[in-house]
C-alpha cells in the first residue's frame, strides 16, 4: 500500500518533465541515431540509402575529423583549467567584503550576455586591429601580432575568448556554493588563527566541492560543444588548425549536405564526451565524499 503510494508520488513529480524532455530531446536523438545508418542529404524528398555501419567505418579513416578531435581535446583541457581558475577567483573576489562587489559581479558576468557569434567578431577586431596597434606602439611585435594567422596562437586566442565568455557564468555557480558556507565555520577557523590561504584550502574548498563537480562538468560540456565562437573568431583557420568537433560536424551536415554521415560523427562524439564526463563526475564525486 505504502509502496504504491510512493510510486504514485514519484510519477507525479517526475513524469511531467520526463514527458516533455523525451519529446524534445530523447526522441529526436534516437531518430538522429537512426539516420546515422543512412546516406542522406537531409531533405525528406531526396533518397535515403541504408548503408549500415559504413558511416561509422568511414569516420575512423577521416583524418580531418580525427585532427579536429585532437584540437578539441587540447582546447578543452586548457579552457577548463583557465575558466575554472578565473571563475573561482572572481567568485572569491566578489563574495569578499568589498564595497563594489555588486557592481563587480554584474560587470564580470556581462560577457556571457553577448551571443557567441558577435563576441567572436568583436575579439577578431581585438586580435587583428588592437594587437597590431599595441605591437607597433610598444615594439613588442613578438607578442602583439595578429594571433589568428598563427595556428598555435589562434588556438590560444580561442581559449582566451572562451574563458572571457565563460568565467562569469561559472562564477555564478561558485558564488552560490561559497554563499552556502555558514559564517560560523569561517569565523571559527579565523578565531583558531587560520590565515587567508588556510581558510581557503582547508575550509572553503572542501565545502564547495559540489560546486567543483558542477562547474567542471558544465565547462567540460560547453567547451566540447564550442561552435559559435569557433565559427566567428577563426572559422576553423588558419588552414583547419582550429577546427573543432562541433564545427566539423556542422560543416558535414550543412555545408557538405552529408546528413547521415554528420549524424554518425555526432553520435561518436557524444559517446566519447559522455565517457569522459562520466569518469570526471565519478572522480570528483568520490572526492566530494572523501573531503566531507
Amino acid at each position: 500500500m505504502k509502496k504504491k503510494k510512493t510510486a504514485g508520488w514519484y510519477a507525479l513529480f517526475t513524469l511531467p518533465l520526463i514527458f516533455i524532455f523525451s519529446l524534445v530531446v530523447v526522441i529526436p536523438f534516437l531518430i538522429g541515431i537512426g539516420y546515422s545508418f543512412f546516406s542522406w542529404d537531409g531533405l525528406p524528398l531526396n533518397p535515403k540509402i541504408f548503408v549500415g555501419f559504413e558511416n561509422y567505418v568511414n569516420l575512423f579513416s577521416d583524418s580531418r575529423f580525427m585532427t579536429s578531435a585532437g584540437h578539441t581535446v587540447l582546447f578543452t583541457i586548457f579552457a577548463i583549467i583557465l575558466i575554472n581558475i578565473l571563475g573561482l577567483a572572481f567568485a572569491l573576489m566578489v563574495t569578499s567584503k568589498l564595497r563594489v562587489k555588486n557592481a563587480a559581479r554584474a560587470m564580470l558576468f556581462m560577457p556571457y550576455l553577448i551571443g557567441g557569434l558577435i563576441l567572436g567578431y568583436i575579439w577578431k577586431f581585438i586580435f587583428t586591429d588592437a594587437f597590431q596597434a599595441i605591437g607597433e606602439a610598444t615594439g613588442l611585435t613578438g607578442i602583439f601580432f595578429n594571433w589568428l594567422l598563427n595556428p598555435r596562437f589562434a588556438l590560444v586566442a580561442l581559449v582566451i575568448v572562451s574563458t572571457w565568455q565563460m568565467a562569469g557564468y561559472i562564477m555564478i555557480i561558485y558564488i552560490t556554493g561559497i554563499m552556502g558556507i555558514p559564517d560560523d565555520v569561517i569565523e571559527a577557523a579565523q578565531v583558531d588563527g587560520a590565515g587567508f590561504w588556510q581558510t581557503l584550502f582547508r575550509i572553503k574548498f572542501p565545502l564547495i566541492m559540489p560546486s567543483f563537480t558542477i562547474c567542471l562538468f558544465m565547462t567540460l560540456s560547453n567547451c566540447f560543444k564550442i561552435f559559435d565562437v569557433n565559427l566567428s573568431l577563426t572559422g576553423g583557420g588558419p588552414s583547419n588548425a582550429t577546427e573543432m568537433f562541433a564545427m566539423n560536424i556542422y560543416n558535414e551536415i550543412f555545408s557538405l549536405n552529408n546528413f547521415g554521415y554528420g549524424q554518425a560523427k555526432a553520435i561518436v562524439f557524444f559517446l566519447v564526451v559522455a565517457v569522459i564526463t562520466m569518469v570526471q563526475v565519478s572522480i570528483t564525486k568520490k572526492r566530494e565524499v572523501e573531503m566531507q
Partner: protein, 444 residues
Amino acid sequence: MKLKKVTSVLLAAAMTASMVLAGCGNSSSGETKKAEDKTEAAKETEAPKADKVETEAAKTQSGDDVESAKKIILFQSKVEIIDQLEELAEAYEDETGVEVEVWGTTGDDYFQQLKTKLANNQGPTVFSLAPGAESVQMTSYLADLSDISFADKIAEGMGNEIDGKLVGIPYTAEGFGLVYNKSLYDPSKVTDTDSLIKYLEEQKAADINGLGLSSESYFLIGHILNTPFALQENPVEFVQKLGAGEVKMADTPEFQEFAKLYAAIRDNCVNPLEQTYDKEIGDFATGKSATIHQGNWAAGMFADYEMDFEMGLAPLPLAGNDKLAVSVPTAWYVNSQATPEEQKAGKEFLEWLYTSETGTDYLMNKFGFIPVVDGMENENMDVLSQDVSKYIADGKTITWPMNEWPAGSVDVYLVPVAQEFFTTDMTPEDFLAKLDEAWAQASK
C-alpha cells in the same frame, strides 16, 4: 522591491501550475500542456502555420476564385533588400488583396534554415536559392515555372533550367572583376597576367596596395578562382572532369597563371587574411588600394565614404581575359510541396513582380537590380552596375562555374588551402597540387 513582487507572482503561478498538474494526475499532464498550447495559438492570430486554414478560407471566401491562395510566404537570402521587400509586400496586398508575409533570417544561415523548414513541411511558398549546385540539390522542391508569361523574355542563360524546365526566375545579374580607382589603374594597359604582376610590383614600390582581397571565403579564393575555370572551353564539363580526376589544375595553363598571380599578391599586396570586407572597402575608398577583387554588390558599401576619385569595374586580366564574370547570384523558386492554390498564388506574385508597373519599379529602382528580363530598364544604376550592364550589352562576359562546384567546397576545402598559402612560403606548384587534393576530397 519590484522583483520581490515578480518573484512572488511567479511562485504563486508555479504553485497553481503544479496544483493543476496534481489535480489532473500525471497521465493528463500532457493534455494540460496541449491545452495551453492551444490557447497560445489562439492568441497568435497571425500564425501562418495554418496553410490549410488559409486555403480553406480562400475557398469559402471567394467561391469563383478557388484556384489561388489569399496568402503567400516569401523567404529569401538577400537581407539587404528586406526593407524594400516588405514595402513591396504591402503594395502587392493593396493592389491584389493577396497577403505576402516576408520571413527573415540572417544571410549566413539562410540555406540551413530553408532546408530545415522544407524538411518539416513548414516551407515558404516562394523562396530564393543560388542557381547551380544548390538548386539541383533541391530539385524535388522546385515547381515548374515554364508557363510563366515572361519566360521567353528572360535573358539568354539567366533563367535557371533543370531538365529542360524553367524553375528559377533570376533576381538580377551580378558581375565581378577588379573594382579599380581610375586615377591609379588603367585597364587598357594591364591586359594579361604578366602585366598585372608587373603592375602589382610597381604599386608596391609606390606604397600602394595593388590588388586587395579579403579573408571572407568567396572574397579570398572563391571568386578569383572562378576565372581560370570560366576561361576553359567548356567550364561545366571541366568541373565534372576535375571532380572525376580526369584533369588536374596543376596541368592546366590558366590555373598555372592563376597560381603565379596569387603568389604575386602574396609578395606585393596586403595579406588578405589581415583584411575584412569592411577594411578592404575602406582601403579602396581612401585610396590605399588601387584595385580590389569585388563586384557591383559592393557599390552600397561606399555610401558612407567621400571619395575623391572615380571608380570602375574591369575584368581580371588573368591569361589575357578581357571579360567580366557575370551571372545570376540568386533566383526565385516556387515550392512544389505547397498546395496547388499556394503555388498558383506564388506564380501570380512573380508574374506581377516582373510585369506590373509597381513590381518592375521595385526591381529596378528600389532594389537597384540590373535588368535580366527584356523590356526592363534601370536608369539610376550605380557606377559599378553600369559597367556590368555595359559588358553584358557588349557580350563580353564569362560565366560562374563556381556555382557548379561541389556543395560547401569553398568554405570547407578551398579556404584552408588559401590560408596555408598566405601564411607560409608555399610555392605556386605546391599550391596547385594542394588545391587538386582538396578538390578530390570535396568531390567525393
